[in-house]
Amino acid sequence: MTETQYQSAHTETRQPIMQARNLVKTFGRVVGLDGVSLDLYPGEVLAIIGDNGAGKSTLIKCLTGAEIPDSGELRVSGQLVNFKRPQDARAHGIETVYQNLAVSPALDVASNLFLGREERLPGPLGKYFRVLDTKGMRRKAKQELTTLGISTLQDVTVPVENLSGGQRQAVAVARAAAFGSKVVVLDEPTAALGVRESNQVLQLVRDLRDRGLPVILISHNMPHVFDVADRIHIQRLGKCAATITPQSHSMTDAVAIMTGAATA
């Protein structure tokens, strides 16, 4: 993304798709989030980085309904929301790809894409006998994968366990992209992948952004973050230490902010 595009993403006339204000989350005496705010604008990749225990995961969980914040507010498209469960976030068009990959190994690719929101056959067979539209779902799954340019994954009837790590990740990302109408959240999508597979996933992230879907990306991997992110939210000790861009700061700066050696 060029500087001008970044500027436009930042002009306050554009309404953020997602807006968090002063989120607080504690676990007993442990403070997970200490008043964190975050804006996500249309068509951007927002990376969230931070050391272990900085509150990255907690922040994401609060944004996606996996945890309920103690206080603070969350808006989606300007509308105040109150997520109690992951399904609530999903109903608002926020799809999450979890680090441990929410895919079912023994089920095939198409079944995984539609897991939890299977489609039934039209007509009485679907209505009264609840028969699944297996063919239709396979066709749509294929379409979705083609749209995303996942060329290595053409047979949607293969069990996911037969796929490589990158392909599994692609299935999980494709599911999020297929159903995430507003935001796609990726938690450490390249953590378990090799170089080639990581690049495929990063390309997927760019493709999603180019389709207009904003992406929140949590990662430990600085080169990956600086490769795809438009803005970088740095968590430190439960707070947002800074929000920078790959243009304004170097990787060394980011690490320094992350570890508290410097401020933005």
């Binding site: 999903r90 929410a102 895919v103 079912s104 190994p105 939890g116 028969v131 047979d155 037969n162």
Partner: protein, 348 residues
């Protein structure tokens, strides 16, 4: 790489020699991949071979009367094994299937004979007993988060005790029961074969459960929950609801099994039925359903139940002591699980 029928060149970038090496198609690998995709193939082969071998050993084996007898002998365990399959698919195990069936059959028989309840009503109460016991197992598994093995080990003893308390240990004879209760034991001719109503009921249950498991979202969720519970939850599946409904469905199937048992033995007896637990698990395992959950099918289970039935019948026709039947079943279980493990290594 997508599922490969041919060892094509790697699809991206540089040639990946290691990947090619791993994917190379030796004949053994190809067999394994087929078995991995169609888990019912191996039990079907075993059944076929067993039938041929026993047919050669003793010409009485392949007579229609004998084959019809095998189906009747299999009908009770075959039905129990449906319930067992449902639960094992969710990565659980149910040690109480036999006890639930016996409890349900005793309640049905006693209500009809001693309390003069109409037969249909007695069967309905038997169904309620199945549902209630299934619900108890399900609640303990989902609410108290206890392992299914422990839960059903406990309820197994509870249900056996309840059965004995309720029946005072007395057997209700089929001759004193209304005709509807023992109807499942009656046979009718189909060509040269005599088929019992119980066998037909069992087959209908298999068709019904296979349809639900294969064609509905609920079925897919059962597999997903057994495969990876956390992944299923994150995909938006209400895991506890699915588990609860599986235990309820199993309870209902077991109540039908109780009805078949009354007809088959022409009695309702509070004793016995405990070894049916292990037989049902044996049928499921031999049928290729994984004890780790998430893979398998009820058709495999039917084949598994038939294999056990064929072995027991064939070995006794061959004049071998009953102990050898037990020995053979033991060997079968070990073989089936080893093959399952080997198949699971395919391409993963």
């Amino acid at each position: 790489m997508t599922q490969q029928q041919t060892a094509g060149p790697p699809t991206t970038g540089q040639a990946d020699l290691a990947e090619e090496f791993l994917d190379r198609q030796t004949p053994l690998n190809r067999v394994r991949n087929v078995l991995h995709r169609y888990p019912a193939v191996s039990p079907a082969l075993v059944l076929l071979i067993a039938v041929i071998v026993f047919g050669l050993l003793n010409d009485r084996f392949l007579r229609v009367e004998n084959l019809s007898l095998i189906t009747q002998q299999v009908s009770v365990v075959g039905t129990l094994a449906i319930a067992q399959t449902l639960i094992i698919l969710t990565a659980g195990i149910d040690l109480s299937v036999g006890a639930i069936m016996i409890l349900s059959s005793m309640v049905t028989a006693q209500l009809a004979v001693n309390n003069g309840l109409p037969a249909a009503m007695a069967l309905l109460v038997g169904l309620l007993v199945g549902l209630a016991t299934g619900a108890l197992n399900g609640l303990l598994v989902t609410r108290l988060k206890l392992p299914p093995f422990i839960v059903t080990l406990g309820t197994l003893n509870i249900f056996i005790a309840l059965t004995l308390l309720y029946s005072n240990g007395a057997t209700v004879r089929g001759t004193s029961m209304p005709g509807l209760l023992t109807w499942t034991g009656t046979t009718f001719p189909v060509g040269p074969v005599r088929i019992s109503v119980g066998v037909v009921v069992m087959i209908l249950l298999y068709v019904l459960i296979a349809f639900i498991l294969g064609k509905t979202a609920w079925g897919r969720h059962v597999y997903a929950v057994g495969d990876d519970k956390e992944a299923a939850r994150l995909a938006g599946i209400a895991v506890n609801k699915v588990l609860m409904s599986v235990y309820l469905a199993a309870g209902a199937v077991l109540a039908v099994g109780a009805w078949i048992q009354i007809g088959r033995t022409n009695a309702a007896s509070p004793n016995g039925g405990v070894d049916l637990n292990l037989d049902s698990i044996t049928a499921v395992v031999i049928g290729g359903t994984s004890l780790f959950g998430g893979r398998g099918s009820v058709w495999g289970t039917l084949l598994g139940a038939l294999i056990v039935g064929v072995f027991r019948n064939g070995l006794s026709l061959a004049g071998l002591d009953v102990l050898y039947q037990t020995l053979a079943v033991g060997v079968l279980i070990i073989l089936a699980v080893s093959i399952d493990q080997w198949i699971r290594k395919a391409k993963s």
